[in-house]
Subunit: 141 residues, 3 copies
């Protein structure tokens, strides 16, 4: 049995940004495989920030812009939010509330078992930020 905790450091460069972290996770999984031979299991991907999210979808440039537009259509930027008296980012929190903080992805025979058109995204909803952390927990055998 293998349980391995890792983390990714992420910097964002704009207020809203979809960052593809698939490659980073695959690289870490490959390092793990060199030593531990992880066969089957899962990796839990969790963002430590309540104005960001983890999602799995297709990395197509136009589609990423569609996601942003759709999200802004659902969550108004300003709406007399009470949290804005404390910190001017209620809309960012609400978007994260709808999208969720984690996803768990299967690992089969040592490889992330994503579909052909799936990538793993860190969704920045309140950037730019220089110190975002995403936890990765690999569990398997």
């Amino acid at each position: 049995m293998v349980v391995i905790s890792k983390s990714l450091r992420i910097s964002s460069s704009s207020n809203f940004q979809i960052i593809d972290i698939t490659r980073d996770i695959v690289d870490i999984l490959n390092e793990i495989n060199e030593e531990n031979k992880m066969g089957n299991g899962i990796v839990n991907i969790f963002t430590k920030h309540s104005t960001s999210s983890i999602r799995v979808n297709e990395n197509e440039k136009g589609l990423l812009m569609d996601f942003e537009k759709a999200l802004k259509g659902v969550v108004k930027e300003k709406d007399n939010y009470k949290h804005n008296f404390i910190d001017n980012n209620a809309a960012s929190h609400i978007k994260a509330f709808f999208l969720g903080a984690s996803e768990s992805i299967p690992i089969v025979e040592g490889r992330l078992d994503l579909g052909t058109w799936q990538s793993i995204f860190f969704i920045e909803l309140d950037g730019p930020r220089s110190n975002r952390t995403v936890d990765l927990t690999f569990i398997g055998e």
Copy 2:
């Protein structure tokens, strides 16, 4: 400790379809129990397609129609989506982006610990399709 990777093949018959996969998962868990005696743990349920989703809710015929209507109210079918220049299914991707790709369900004493009114759904958002795959990862002891 037990880690077992399985998958379900699913065919959908319409563009939007909520398919109850609870029975299929219970059947696989029962097979696992016959041999491995899995007591407590979780099963991670993950769809390998970015125009579909996994959700847990009540399987009541009228409610399933309400889910469809609500989802279509939130995500417009046409909205000058950029992805539609590539592939005419942006709305399907956006719905999946909102709903999410995975859920993890507890297993207690060898049984899925769902509530009385809970079923596990594969949500087809871009059907009909004949070759959908859902990964199941059972982890426990």
Copy 3:
């Protein structure tokens, strides 16, 4: 390897209520640590009710009111829902359908690895109720 199944009993006092369950989960993790020395892993948090949800975000009083308002803006209370002929709570189910039933949180060196501003919430969408159950499954080593 450690797999431990626990559950929380929750009572809600209003129709919509965001209940912070972080402290309850930390208390249970501390008890587990006293005996089993759980180092790294995850805890899966799953609500057994299809008119409730689990979410991770910031516990700021004004923000919790913003979440409620935003959710009610996205899901109409009445919209000729078909489920309301069976049970008058379609809007509660639809909100849960959008938000999701589970989150998995990393445990690092025996502690929940939440970010500074993150709390774990049970979201009551159809209260008040006296017998809500949330399953916790700790997996690690």
